[in-house]
């Protein structure tokens, strides 16, 4: 139990996927202009990461490992995640239109995002057991959501600040993200 908790806290704060590992940056900078969109995106990414992580673990341990085809991991995971997200979008569109209106459009954006691919890859590399990989997936999703919400709140304030013309938009966003990353560096070595 304690190791699950450590792993969870580790993936949310210490090894934050965006601020420490620099993954998922395109959605991070793309969606963080608006706080409401960011919350929706955070939820969407967490769900997709968790579900595809479970699926990937199953495929790895019951198909790839027994047949000694671990070198196919990356490509199989990519195909898996892309098709799975498509399926998810179809299901949600039909079964839960209200949910689809809220964050259905983000699903297409995160279909082949590096963060969604890296979580299963990393849990396979670290040879996590089934429940451990789920905890890891939820933790990384939450960490991503945390970083996204922090960034969105900062960027909404930045919209009214006196930014030098050459740095407006992406420039200042990257600088602020760098500072956030530096701040999170303070957590390293905690676990």
């Amino acid at each position: 139990m304690a190791e699950y908790f450590t792993l969870f806290i580790g993936s949310v704060i210490v090894n934050n996927f965006v601020l420490t590992k620099f993954l998922g940056l395109c959605i991070f900078f793309g969606v963080s202009k608006n706080l409401n969109a960011s919350v929706g995106m955070g939820m969407a990414v967490t769900s997709v990461i968790t579900l595809s992580s479970i699926l990937a673990w199953i495929v790895y341990h019951f198909v790839l490992l027994p047949f000694g085809l671990t070198f196919l991991t990356t490509i199989v995971f990519v195909v898996l995640i892309a098709s799975f997200v498509q399926l998810l979008e179809l299901i949600i569109k039909k079964q839960a239109p209200a949910l689809y209106n809220m964050w259905g459009i983000y699903l297409v954006l995160i279909a082949t995002n590096c963060i969604v691919l890296s979580v299963p890859l990393l849990s396979v590399e670290s040879d996590y057991a089934f429940v451990t990989s789920i905890v890891f997936a939820v933790g990384s999703g939450m960490g991503f959501a945390l970083a996204l919400i922090l960034m969105a709140s900062l960027r909404e304030k930045l919209a009214y600040a006196d930014v030098p013309k050459p740095l407006e938009g992406m420039g200042i966003a990257f600088i602020v993200a760098g500072m956030l990353s530096l701040a999170f560096l303070g957590f390293s070595g905690m676990l």
């Binding site: 000694g68 490509i75 199989v76 195909v79 098709s83 399926l87 179809l90 299901i91 009214y160």
Partner: protein
């Protein structure tokens, strides 16, 4: 060799399995989208202004196609052209929509209006209003930081040199977005055929209003007394014009000449403004 065959088999299997799952899901979870919705959406001006009452053009297109009660002429910026097209596509009848333009009910320029304090903060009207009602002495007047201009989906409002927004009547579609974002409620929608406009929003008593702005409406009632059609009322120290009576019945705007502060003025349609500028 064995591995190569295994690779082909596994990759092929994964591809086929997911292909089949997706194909089945596509059929099973298929949602019928009426193609007419897309056609109607193409015709709309795509300003996403919300004047029709729906959140964006796509939602209005869906509503007007699927719901028989929704009228086809709700698109204010589209005016008659779009209303007729939508009516044609959906087979509904459209009625004439009144053409409106935005009007800023304030003539308190930086030279005429007194400032109550020097404001150094976010360059936004809503933000400035939070600090004691804004930097202008008159708390009903236009604050002049351009929140309306920024929010106009058609670029019809520009901030003038004197601190008041200028409406380009050709670009203005009467969607009413500026009216809803203005924190002072100083923008009103006037029909394009209006005869007079009251360039003031001040509810202060005459003496106080005049102290804060030289172009204020002091609520003296001279316009009301001189209007032979009873189109003007004085409500809360401010002249309020009943547009219907003014438009339909008035033949000569005597009110404009009688106003001591020139708060009520003749409404000049854009065509005449451009013609006057061309000559002069």
């Amino acid at each position: 060799m064995n591995t190569a065959i295994m690779v082909l088999v596994v990759m092929g299997a994964v591809g086929i399995v997911f292909g089949v799952i997706l194909a089945i899901a596509n059929k099973k979870f298929a949602m019928e989208v009426n193609p007419l919705i897309h056609e109607v959406d193409e015709v709309l001006p795509k300003g996403q202004c919300g004047a029709c009452g729906y959140a964006g053009c796509a939602n209005y297109a869906e509503a007007v196609v699927l719901n028989p009660e929704v009228p086809p002429n709700l698109c204010v910026p589209g005016k008659d052209a779009v209303a007729n097209l939508v009516a044609e596509l959906t087979g509904k009848k459209s009625e004439q929509l009144e053409v409106r333009v935005a009007h800023v009910c304030c003539s308190g320029t930086t030279s005429k209006a007194v400032a109550s304090y020097a404001y150094k903060g976010i360059h936004d009207c809503a933000a400035a209003k939070l600090i004691q009602g804004g930097p202008k002495g008159c708390k009903y007047g236009c604050i002049g930081f351009g929140t309306c201009a920024v929010n106009c989906p058609f670029g019809a409002l520009q901030m003038g040199e004197d601190g008041l927004p200028i409406v380009d009547q050709d670009l203005c579609t009467g969607c009413g977005k500026c009216e809803s974002v203005c924190p002072q409620n100083v923008i009103a929608m006037l029909p394009a055929t209006a005869k007079v406009k009251v360039d003031c929003n001040s509810r202060d008593k005459g003496i106080d209003a005049r102290k804060l702005c030289t172009a204020a409406c002091i609520g003296c009632g001279l316009c009301k007394r001189n209007c032979s059609y009873g189109a003007i009322e004085i409500v809360n120290n401010l002249a309020v014009v009943d547009v219907k009576i003014c438009q339909d019945q008035c033949t000569e705007a005597t009110c404009v000449g009688k106003c001591p502060t020139k708060a009520i003025k003749t409404f000049i349609p854009q065509a005449e403004v451009t013609a006057a500028e061309a000559i002069g």
